[in-house]
Subunit: 191 residues, 2 copies
Protein backbone atom coordinates (compact mmCIF):
# COMPACT_ATOMS: atom_id res chain seq x y z
CA UNK A 1 0.00 0.00 0.00
CA UNK A 2 1.50 3.31 -1.07
CA UNK A 3 0.39 6.63 0.20
CA UNK A 4 -0.88 9.06 -2.37
CA UNK A 5 -2.80 12.21 -1.55
CA UNK A 6 -6.47 11.63 -2.15
CA UNK A 7 -8.61 14.30 -3.75
CA UNK A 8 -10.53 16.04 -1.04
CA UNK A 9 -14.16 16.02 -2.04
CA UNK A 10 -15.60 16.93 1.29
CA UNK A 11 -17.56 19.95 0.37
CA UNK A 12 -19.98 17.53 -1.25
CA UNK A 13 -20.06 14.84 1.47
CA UNK A 14 -23.45 14.73 3.11
CA UNK A 15 -24.83 12.21 5.61
CA UNK A 16 -27.60 10.12 4.11
CA UNK A 17 -31.12 10.56 5.44
CA UNK A 18 -33.12 7.61 6.76
CA UNK A 19 -35.03 7.47 3.45
CA UNK A 20 -31.83 7.33 1.42
CA UNK A 21 -30.42 4.41 3.42
CA UNK A 22 -32.77 2.10 1.52
CA UNK A 23 -33.69 0.26 4.70
CA UNK A 24 -36.00 -2.72 4.45
CA UNK A 25 -39.31 -2.94 6.33
CA UNK A 26 -39.88 -6.01 8.51
CA UNK A 27 -41.98 -7.58 5.71
CA UNK A 28 -39.41 -6.74 3.03
CA UNK A 29 -36.69 -8.25 5.21
CA UNK A 30 -38.64 -11.47 5.70
CA UNK A 31 -39.28 -11.73 1.96
CA UNK A 32 -35.70 -10.94 0.90
CA UNK A 33 -33.24 -13.56 -0.29
CA UNK A 34 -30.89 -14.16 2.61
CA UNK A 35 -27.20 -14.93 2.68
CA UNK A 36 -27.22 -18.70 3.37
CA UNK A 37 -25.46 -18.46 6.72
CA UNK A 38 -26.71 -19.66 10.09
CA UNK A 39 -25.08 -18.49 13.33
CA UNK A 40 -25.17 -20.88 16.28
CA UNK A 41 -24.86 -19.20 19.70
CA UNK A 42 -23.83 -21.81 22.26
CA UNK A 43 -23.96 -21.00 25.98
CA UNK A 44 -23.52 -17.25 25.54
CA UNK A 45 -23.65 -15.63 28.94
CA UNK A 46 -24.22 -12.01 27.96
CA UNK A 47 -27.59 -10.98 26.56
CA UNK A 48 -25.86 -7.85 25.30
CA UNK A 49 -23.77 -10.08 23.04
CA UNK A 50 -26.85 -12.01 21.86
CA UNK A 51 -28.64 -8.78 20.94
CA UNK A 52 -25.59 -7.44 19.15
CA UNK A 53 -25.34 -10.60 17.01
CA UNK A 54 -29.02 -10.20 16.07
CA UNK A 55 -28.31 -6.63 14.97
CA UNK A 56 -25.35 -7.75 12.83
CA UNK A 57 -27.37 -10.64 11.37
CA UNK A 58 -30.01 -8.11 10.32
CA UNK A 59 -27.39 -5.87 8.73
CA UNK A 60 -25.99 -8.70 6.59
CA UNK A 61 -29.32 -10.45 5.83
CA UNK A 62 -28.26 -13.67 7.54
CA UNK A 63 -30.59 -16.65 7.19
CA UNK A 64 -31.10 -17.50 10.86
CA UNK A 65 -29.69 -17.67 14.38
CA UNK A 66 -29.76 -20.96 16.29
CA UNK A 67 -29.69 -20.48 20.05
CA UNK A 68 -28.42 -23.42 22.10
CA UNK A 69 -27.76 -24.37 25.70
CA UNK A 70 -28.22 -21.61 28.27
CA UNK A 71 -28.00 -18.72 25.76
CA UNK A 72 -30.99 -16.46 26.47
CA UNK A 73 -33.84 -16.36 23.93
CA UNK A 74 -35.87 -13.32 22.84
CA UNK A 75 -37.95 -11.62 24.03
CA UNK A 76 -35.74 -10.28 26.81
CA UNK A 77 -35.29 -6.61 27.61
CA UNK A 78 -31.50 -7.02 27.81
CA UNK A 79 -31.38 -8.59 24.32
CA UNK A 80 -33.65 -5.91 22.82
CA UNK A 81 -31.40 -3.20 24.24
CA UNK A 82 -28.64 -4.10 21.76
CA UNK A 83 -30.73 -5.87 19.07
CA UNK A 84 -32.70 -2.65 18.47
CA UNK A 85 -35.56 -4.43 16.73
CA UNK A 86 -33.51 -7.08 14.88
CA UNK A 87 -35.22 -9.88 16.84
CA UNK A 88 -38.32 -8.95 14.80
CA UNK A 89 -36.56 -9.48 11.47
CA UNK A 90 -33.95 -12.21 11.93
CA UNK A 91 -35.44 -15.70 12.24
CA UNK A 92 -34.20 -17.83 15.15
CA UNK A 93 -34.75 -21.24 16.74
CA UNK A 94 -33.84 -22.71 20.10
CA UNK A 95 -32.19 -26.13 20.55
CA UNK A 96 -31.43 -27.61 23.93
CA UNK A 97 -28.06 -28.87 22.70
CA UNK A 98 -25.70 -27.82 19.94
CA UNK A 99 -25.63 -31.43 18.72
CA UNK A 100 -29.38 -31.17 17.97
CA UNK A 101 -28.80 -27.88 16.15
CA UNK A 102 -26.02 -29.49 14.11
CA UNK A 103 -28.32 -32.39 13.13
CA UNK A 104 -30.91 -29.88 11.92
CA UNK A 105 -28.23 -28.00 9.95
CA UNK A 106 -26.93 -31.21 8.34
CA UNK A 107 -30.46 -32.11 7.19
CA UNK A 108 -30.58 -28.76 5.40
CA UNK A 109 -27.19 -29.26 3.74
CA UNK A 110 -25.13 -26.86 5.81
CA UNK A 111 -21.37 -27.10 6.18
CA UNK A 112 -20.58 -26.39 9.84
CA UNK A 113 -17.57 -24.65 11.36
CA UNK A 114 -16.76 -23.69 14.93
CA UNK A 115 -15.03 -20.36 15.46
CA UNK A 116 -12.24 -21.63 17.66
CA UNK A 117 -8.48 -21.71 17.99
CA UNK A 118 -7.54 -25.35 17.42
CA UNK A 119 -4.41 -26.97 16.08
CA UNK A 120 -5.81 -27.39 12.57
CA UNK A 121 -8.04 -24.33 12.27
CA UNK A 122 -8.41 -22.52 8.96
CA UNK A 123 -7.47 -18.84 9.00
CA UNK A 124 -10.52 -16.65 8.33
CA UNK A 125 -9.10 -14.89 5.26
CA UNK A 126 -9.04 -18.31 3.56
CA UNK A 127 -12.80 -18.78 4.01
CA UNK A 128 -13.58 -18.10 0.35
CA UNK A 129 -11.24 -20.89 -0.71
CA UNK A 130 -13.59 -23.40 0.91
CA UNK A 131 -16.38 -24.78 -1.23
CA UNK A 132 -19.77 -24.32 0.36
CA UNK A 133 -23.24 -23.22 -0.59
CA UNK A 134 -24.63 -23.00 2.92
CA UNK A 135 -22.44 -22.44 5.95
CA UNK A 136 -23.04 -22.38 9.70
CA UNK A 137 -20.73 -20.91 12.31
CA UNK A 138 -20.76 -21.95 15.97
CA UNK A 139 -19.74 -19.30 18.51
CA UNK A 140 -19.17 -20.49 22.05
CA UNK A 141 -19.19 -19.17 25.59
CA UNK A 142 -17.30 -15.93 26.30
CA UNK A 143 -14.79 -17.65 28.60
CA UNK A 144 -14.65 -21.33 27.70
CA UNK A 145 -15.33 -21.13 23.94
CA UNK A 146 -17.10 -23.81 21.90
CA UNK A 147 -17.64 -27.12 23.75
CA UNK A 148 -15.29 -29.93 22.70
CA UNK A 149 -18.31 -32.12 22.01
CA UNK A 150 -19.66 -29.52 19.57
CA UNK A 151 -16.30 -29.11 17.85
CA UNK A 152 -16.30 -32.86 17.31
CA UNK A 153 -19.53 -32.55 15.27
CA UNK A 154 -18.17 -29.85 12.93
CA UNK A 155 -16.55 -29.99 9.51
CA UNK A 156 -13.71 -27.92 10.89
CA UNK A 157 -12.72 -24.82 12.83
CA UNK A 158 -12.11 -21.30 11.63
CA UNK A 159 -9.82 -18.93 13.50
CA UNK A 160 -9.64 -15.16 13.32
CA UNK A 161 -5.90 -14.52 13.16
CA UNK A 162 -4.74 -12.32 16.03
CA UNK A 163 -1.35 -10.84 16.73
CA UNK A 164 -1.61 -9.18 20.16
CA UNK A 165 -1.42 -9.98 23.84
CA UNK A 166 -4.90 -11.35 24.42
CA UNK A 167 -5.71 -13.55 21.42
CA UNK A 168 -9.38 -13.24 22.19
CA UNK A 169 -12.11 -11.02 20.78
CA UNK A 170 -15.50 -10.15 22.21
CA UNK A 171 -17.97 -12.69 20.77
CA UNK A 172 -20.19 -10.06 19.14
CA UNK A 173 -17.12 -8.50 17.51
CA UNK A 174 -15.90 -11.93 16.35
CA UNK A 175 -19.35 -12.67 14.88
CA UNK A 176 -19.33 -9.30 13.09
CA UNK A 177 -15.93 -10.06 11.55
CA UNK A 178 -16.88 -13.58 10.41
CA UNK A 179 -20.25 -12.49 8.98
CA UNK A 180 -18.61 -9.58 7.16
CA UNK A 181 -16.09 -12.02 5.65
CA UNK A 182 -19.03 -13.86 4.04
CA UNK A 183 -21.01 -10.71 3.19
CA UNK A 184 -18.10 -8.89 1.54
CA UNK A 185 -18.01 -11.56 -1.17
CA UNK A 186 -21.68 -10.87 -1.91
CA UNK A 187 -21.76 -7.06 -1.87
CA UNK A 188 -21.85 -6.84 -5.66
CA UNK A 189 -24.95 -9.05 -5.72
CA UNK A 190 -26.92 -6.80 -3.35
CA UNK A 191 -28.57 -3.36 -3.34
CA UNK B 1 -19.70 -21.00 -3.94
CA UNK B 2 -20.39 -24.68 -4.50
CA UNK B 3 -20.95 -27.17 -1.77
CA UNK B 4 -18.59 -30.07 -1.63
CA UNK B 5 -18.31 -32.39 1.33
CA UNK B 6 -15.30 -31.52 3.37
CA UNK B 7 -13.12 -34.21 4.82
CA UNK B 8 -13.98 -34.58 8.45
CA UNK B 9 -10.76 -34.38 10.40
CA UNK B 10 -12.25 -33.81 13.79
CA UNK B 11 -10.73 -36.59 15.68
CA UNK B 12 -7.53 -34.61 15.53
CA UNK B 13 -8.95 -31.15 16.33
CA UNK B 14 -7.73 -29.95 19.68
CA UNK B 15 -8.15 -26.54 21.32
CA UNK B 16 -4.86 -24.71 21.61
CA UNK B 17 -3.42 -24.12 25.06
CA UNK B 18 -2.49 -20.62 26.24
CA UNK B 19 1.17 -21.35 25.47
CA UNK B 20 0.40 -22.46 21.92
CA UNK B 21 -1.53 -19.25 21.15
CA UNK B 22 1.78 -17.44 20.83
CA UNK B 23 0.47 -14.48 22.77
CA UNK B 24 2.69 -11.46 23.22
CA UNK B 25 3.69 -10.10 26.62
CA UNK B 26 3.03 -6.40 27.29
CA UNK B 27 6.68 -5.62 26.49
CA UNK B 28 6.68 -7.73 23.34
CA UNK B 29 3.48 -5.98 22.23
CA UNK B 30 4.98 -2.54 22.76
CA UNK B 31 8.10 -3.50 20.81
CA UNK B 32 6.25 -5.16 17.93
CA UNK B 33 5.77 -3.54 14.53
CA UNK B 34 2.20 -2.33 14.47
CA UNK B 35 -0.28 -2.15 11.62
CA UNK B 36 -0.16 1.59 10.72
CA UNK B 37 -3.78 2.27 11.63
CA UNK B 38 -5.12 4.74 14.18
CA UNK B 39 -8.69 4.56 15.44
CA UNK B 40 -10.34 7.83 16.49
CA UNK B 41 -13.21 7.43 18.96
CA UNK B 42 -15.34 10.59 18.90
CA UNK B 43 -17.99 11.17 21.55
CA UNK B 44 -18.56 7.49 22.30
CA UNK B 45 -21.13 7.23 25.07
CA UNK B 46 -20.59 3.60 26.13
CA UNK B 47 -17.43 2.67 28.02
CA UNK B 48 -18.23 -0.93 27.13
CA UNK B 49 -17.73 0.02 23.47
CA UNK B 50 -14.48 1.85 24.23
CA UNK B 51 -13.08 -1.17 26.06
CA UNK B 52 -14.14 -3.52 23.28
CA UNK B 53 -12.32 -1.40 20.67
CA UNK B 54 -9.15 -1.54 22.83
CA UNK B 55 -9.44 -5.33 22.91
CA UNK B 56 -9.82 -5.49 19.11
CA UNK B 57 -6.94 -3.02 18.61
CA UNK B 58 -4.76 -5.32 20.72
CA UNK B 59 -5.80 -8.36 18.67
CA UNK B 60 -4.84 -6.74 15.38
CA UNK B 61 -1.72 -4.87 16.64
CA UNK B 62 -3.18 -1.45 15.81
CA UNK B 63 -0.84 1.54 16.19
CA UNK B 64 -2.94 3.69 18.51
CA UNK B 65 -6.37 4.88 19.62
CA UNK B 66 -7.16 8.61 19.69
CA UNK B 67 -9.92 9.49 22.13
CA UNK B 68 -11.80 12.73 21.45
CA UNK B 69 -14.65 14.78 22.90
CA UNK B 70 -16.54 13.20 25.76
CA UNK B 71 -15.39 9.62 25.07
CA UNK B 72 -14.16 8.23 28.41
CA UNK B 73 -10.42 7.68 28.90
CA UNK B 74 -8.71 4.80 30.73
CA UNK B 75 -8.37 3.97 33.51
CA UNK B 76 -12.06 3.39 34.15
CA UNK B 77 -13.50 0.22 35.61
CA UNK B 78 -16.20 0.08 32.95
CA UNK B 79 -13.60 0.27 30.15
CA UNK B 80 -11.41 -2.39 31.76
CA UNK B 81 -14.37 -4.74 32.00
CA UNK B 82 -14.38 -5.19 28.21
CA UNK B 83 -10.77 -4.20 27.41
CA UNK B 84 -9.47 -7.08 29.57
CA UNK B 85 -5.99 -5.61 29.86
CA UNK B 86 -5.70 -4.13 26.36
CA UNK B 87 -5.46 -0.59 27.78
CA UNK B 88 -2.02 -1.70 29.03
CA UNK B 89 -0.81 -2.65 25.55
CA UNK B 90 -2.53 -0.37 23.04
CA UNK B 91 -1.18 3.19 23.05
CA UNK B 92 -3.75 5.99 23.23
CA UNK B 93 -3.97 9.79 23.40
CA UNK B 94 -6.73 12.19 24.32
CA UNK B 95 -7.67 15.25 22.22
CA UNK B 96 -10.37 17.69 23.25
CA UNK B 97 -11.63 17.91 19.66
CA UNK B 98 -11.49 15.60 16.67
CA UNK B 99 -10.12 18.48 14.59
CA UNK B 100 -7.03 18.56 16.87
CA UNK B 101 -6.67 14.78 16.48
CA UNK B 102 -6.90 15.14 12.70
CA UNK B 103 -4.18 17.82 12.70
CA UNK B 104 -1.91 15.48 14.66
CA UNK B 105 -2.69 12.64 12.22
CA UNK B 106 -1.97 14.85 9.18
CA UNK B 107 1.43 15.80 10.63
CA UNK B 108 2.26 12.09 10.79
CA UNK B 109 1.15 11.48 7.20
CA UNK B 110 -2.09 9.66 7.88
CA UNK B 111 -4.93 9.45 5.37
CA UNK B 112 -8.16 9.93 7.34
CA UNK B 113 -11.58 8.41 6.76
CA UNK B 114 -14.79 8.64 8.72
CA UNK B 115 -16.89 5.51 9.01
CA UNK B 116 -20.17 7.00 7.98
CA UNK B 117 -22.99 6.61 5.49
CA UNK B 118 -22.68 9.65 3.20
CA UNK B 119 -23.69 10.18 -0.41
CA UNK B 120 -20.17 9.56 -1.74
CA UNK B 121 -18.89 6.98 0.71
CA UNK B 122 -16.58 4.19 -0.40
CA UNK B 123 -17.81 0.66 0.25
CA UNK B 124 -15.56 -1.14 2.75
CA UNK B 125 -14.66 -4.05 0.48
CA UNK B 126 -12.97 -1.50 -1.81
CA UNK B 127 -10.61 -0.34 0.95
CA UNK B 128 -7.60 -2.11 -0.52
CA UNK B 129 -8.06 -0.27 -3.82
CA UNK B 130 -7.19 2.99 -2.03
CA UNK B 131 -3.56 3.97 -1.90
CA UNK B 132 -2.36 4.59 1.63
CA UNK B 133 0.54 3.77 3.88
CA UNK B 134 -1.00 4.99 7.11
CA UNK B 135 -4.73 5.20 7.62
CA UNK B 136 -6.96 6.56 10.39
CA UNK B 137 -10.64 5.77 10.89
CA UNK B 138 -13.01 8.03 12.81
CA UNK B 139 -15.91 6.32 14.58
CA UNK B 140 -18.64 8.60 15.94
CA UNK B 141 -21.31 8.61 18.60
CA UNK B 142 -23.63 5.59 18.86
CA UNK B 143 -26.71 7.58 17.89
CA UNK B 144 -25.62 10.65 15.95
CA UNK B 145 -22.53 9.24 14.18
CA UNK B 146 -19.45 11.26 13.23
CA UNK B 147 -19.86 15.05 13.58
CA UNK B 148 -20.33 16.91 10.28
CA UNK B 149 -17.41 19.17 11.23
CA UNK B 150 -15.15 16.10 11.59
CA UNK B 151 -16.34 14.59 8.31
CA UNK B 152 -15.38 17.87 6.64
CA UNK B 153 -11.75 17.36 7.78
CA UNK B 154 -11.46 13.85 6.32
CA UNK B 155 -10.18 12.53 3.02
CA UNK B 156 -13.43 10.65 2.60
CA UNK B 157 -15.95 8.33 4.19
CA UNK B 158 -16.08 4.56 4.26
CA UNK B 159 -19.35 2.68 4.64
CA UNK B 160 -19.92 -0.90 5.74
CA UNK B 161 -22.50 -2.14 3.22
CA UNK B 162 -25.64 -3.33 4.96
CA UNK B 163 -28.73 -4.96 3.51
CA UNK B 164 -31.22 -5.24 6.39
CA UNK B 165 -33.82 -3.24 8.25
CA UNK B 166 -31.60 -1.22 10.57
CA UNK B 167 -28.58 -0.13 8.54
CA UNK B 168 -26.63 0.42 11.70
CA UNK B 169 -24.08 -1.71 13.55
CA UNK B 170 -22.86 -1.49 17.11
CA UNK B 171 -19.76 0.73 17.07
CA UNK B 172 -17.47 -1.93 18.55
CA UNK B 173 -18.68 -4.42 15.93
CA UNK B 174 -18.20 -1.85 13.15
CA UNK B 175 -14.66 -1.16 14.41
CA UNK B 176 -13.93 -4.91 14.47
CA UNK B 177 -15.08 -5.28 10.87
CA UNK B 178 -13.09 -2.28 9.60
CA UNK B 179 -9.90 -3.26 11.48
CA UNK B 180 -10.21 -6.84 10.22
CA UNK B 181 -10.52 -5.50 6.65
CA UNK B 182 -7.07 -3.92 7.09
CA UNK B 183 -5.58 -6.81 9.07
CA UNK B 184 -6.75 -9.51 6.63
CA UNK B 185 -4.46 -8.03 3.98
CA UNK B 186 -1.50 -8.38 6.36
CA UNK B 187 -2.06 -11.85 7.77
CA UNK B 188 0.62 -13.38 5.58
CA UNK B 189 3.17 -10.89 6.98
CA UNK B 190 2.52 -11.84 10.63
CA UNK B 191 3.11 -14.70 13.05
Amino acid sequence: MNYSPIVNYLCTMRKLSMDELNRKSVDEFRGATKIPVIVVLENIRSMHNVGSVFRTADAFLIESIYITGYTAQPPRKEIDKTALGATETVSWKYFKTTVEAVMCLREQGYTIYSIEQVDKSISLEQLQTLNFQKIAFIFGNEVTGVEESSIAECDGCIEIPQFGMKHSLNISVAAGIVLWEVARAQVHLRD
